[in-house]
Subunit: 453 residues, 2 copies
Amino acid sequence: MADIKKIFDNPQSGEITVSGWIRTLRKSKGICFIALTDGSTSDNIQIVAIEEQTRDYDRLTSLLTGAAITVRGNLELTPEAKQPFEIKLSEYTVLGDCPSDYPLQKKNHSPEFLRTIPHLRARSNTFGNVFRVRSEAAFAIHEFFREKGFFYVHTPIITDSDAEGAGEMFTVTTLNPCTENNANYDDDFFGKHASLTVSGQLEGEYLALALGKIYTFGPTFRAERSFTARHAAEFWMIEPEMAFADLYDDMDIAEAMLKFVLKRLLERCPKELAFFDKFYDNGLTKRLCDVSTAEFARCSYTEAINHLIAAEVDFEYKPEWGIDLQTEHERYLSETVFGKPVFVFDYPKEIKAFYMRQNDDGKTVAACDLLVPRVGELIGGSQREERLDILKARMSELEMDEAAYSRYLDTRRYGTVPHAGFGLGFERLLMYVTGISNIRDVIPFPRTAGSIY
Amino acid sequence: MADIKKIFDNPQSGEITVSGWIRTLRKSKGICFIALTDGSTSDNIQIVAIEEQTRDYDRLTSLLTGAAITVRGNLELTPEAKQPFEIKLSEYTVLGDCPSDYPLQKKNHSPEFLRTIPHLRARSNTFGNVFRVRSEAAFAIHEFFREKGFFYVHTPIITDSDAEGAGEMFTVTTLNPCTENNANYDDDFFGKHASLTVSGQLEGEYLALALGKIYTFGPTFRAERSFTARHAAEFWMIEPEMAFADLYDDMDIAEAMLKFVLKRLLERCPKELAFFDKFYDNGLTKRLCDVSTAEFARCSYTEAINHLIAAEVDFEYKPEWGIDLQTEHERYLSETVFGKPVFVFDYPKEIKAFYMRQNDDGKTVAACDLLVPRVGELIGGSQREERLDILKARMSELEMDEAAYSRYLDTRRYGTVPHAGFGLGFERLLMYVTGISNIRDVIPFPRTAGSIY
């Protein structure tokens, strides 16, 4: 039995068997047209059944949207018709009926409604396309890093550390918070408090300082009660880390990675992207195509602030040296100043994490963010502080507990080397390449504050 | 700057710059030999420094194992020597010293000791090789399924269901089990009790019944206090699911997948496998090679039990129809009866999960396990029960709460189709292909009962 995608890739006239679900079924006098999908592609295959040649014709035409059938028939090329070919049904079997209360009728449904039926929504056009793109984008990321000599590593999901202290964390426990009193983490599964990871970076550094170049691609978690369209409690991150690399190598790899993924999606998902271009984000395909060949701009934070101060724009947050850039600033820089993706680098050390490498100016660190039109920040990275004395001094300034980072410091004690890495939120990338504006709609089963659908 | 792996793949004489960590440094009169690694390969590159041609020769020769340097020099092909080429050092820079308390000296360390330094152990030969193989195996899995038209999907890590009721689960919470009394899951982050997933299968089914063929590859969790060498609290699973497929398709795909991964590893990791063959599992390479081309045997559970009963072996667990096969039985079947991997299928329904498809005999279900020599069960799969009435009757027999599975039942209400899938524990696969006998040694940062290192 052939996947419908393979048939569309290379239609051959002749006898064929296909299985799928009915998208639509349209009857005329003595003839019936069925659009059939098996999920392998966004294309439906057209099945034509002639009443007088079809056994149990009435049973066939009584089937509703969502019913599953296997069809044997003859594939005929139809170069003059709207669809390139069709299958003339010779016999069929009903695999599964679908009653009329099926929630996915052919009319359009709101994304809000579809979020309430995550077990069915991947059958809709939009979500089928999103998840096919999601799969291709993930594979492209693996292809890219492997070609560049990076090893894929699995950093732990359950952790006993607070990583970069970023955000609220979920506790992982076998204790019962609702019934036990005076429980103690000594009695917990791991014999201590454990959490869900917010980043694999620290462990990624350990592995890069052994294997040279690594990347993670795994789930990360934030227990933040954000109710925005851009935040989920569970999301997937890609975090590459390279030994013997500085901030410029880091930006080079991030730029090459993004372009590679866009090129692969343009080649491999043209129909899905055309769908999103038409229904979600006009001009999407052209924009992705432009970005995939553009040379990204690079601009220091100090220059970026000067651009923003000089801008004749009434920003909600007034730009001045030292502030964290807001989405309005990021979009202005990438959309208006540069008209393409731009790396902003060398940020004030006060607004960045302790592990970023200090520049000689004493004020900034070797951090970079990639800002892209319409989205703002897509990637954040840095060269890591590899000098033990400077790292310890910074941790002391920030009143951090050195003992909690003894392993991290070990890597600076034993053969320390310059190294750099970055983080890419996979869902943010998907929102960028599909034009879908709510993160809940690029994750098969989204988890957000107050909600596990 | 070149990766050392690329240099070994294609050594070219001439000027070159490499960076890495010193594995060994050996001095003779007026000359010094350094074995340098950058983690990209298990091969060390040989650096030769002549005292009278090297500025700061004494500094160089004072460096210890683990120190990081960048070397510029001339690559010379040495076809007569033990190593195929060497680099004649012309100048060097020290990136990071390494003091003599470095825990990884060149002598061999016990796996138990190395587990206490997970942030450094990937620098050892064994673990470097394990994690390079782990990366290639993961990529091979993605390659295989993509070539076969499967979409990679991310099923949720945080879940509000108990999936197949398999094993103890971890609670995920923002409540504090140690200080709060009378807390209530209504006040928890998701407004209800949430856990870490034990399997992505149910959600995988939802997505296969939309996209046709999918696979998951993600972390799963068991809060079981097992202290065996085969159990971890956090491990990665691969769970493919196919619509329009039966148990025989399932076995075909599982067999093709395993052979594909073995072939890729034999092609791409020959040095790593040779290392494991030599130090961990004599005959490993030949065995993997044999399995990658063998036709796997297939045998019903009933036949398997008959083989076991007829065996002149004093099993610890007496074989009789109805029992769950133990590792001793699994190994006897694959090693002695068949001498190769064997699928055992059609198991008694009492020892298998509720969702497996009932056979017409009324006694067995369409389940299959792949048993392999030396390891026992590697893969477990089944055709799923797609008939709503039979599924509901079985759930009722087992006194399951139908309401908790309303989504699962929905997929049998709306266009149900035959479908099948299986699960492969990624770490178990890695133990099989490396001969490493403890699961803690194929995971970068293992989590087990009582222990987060």
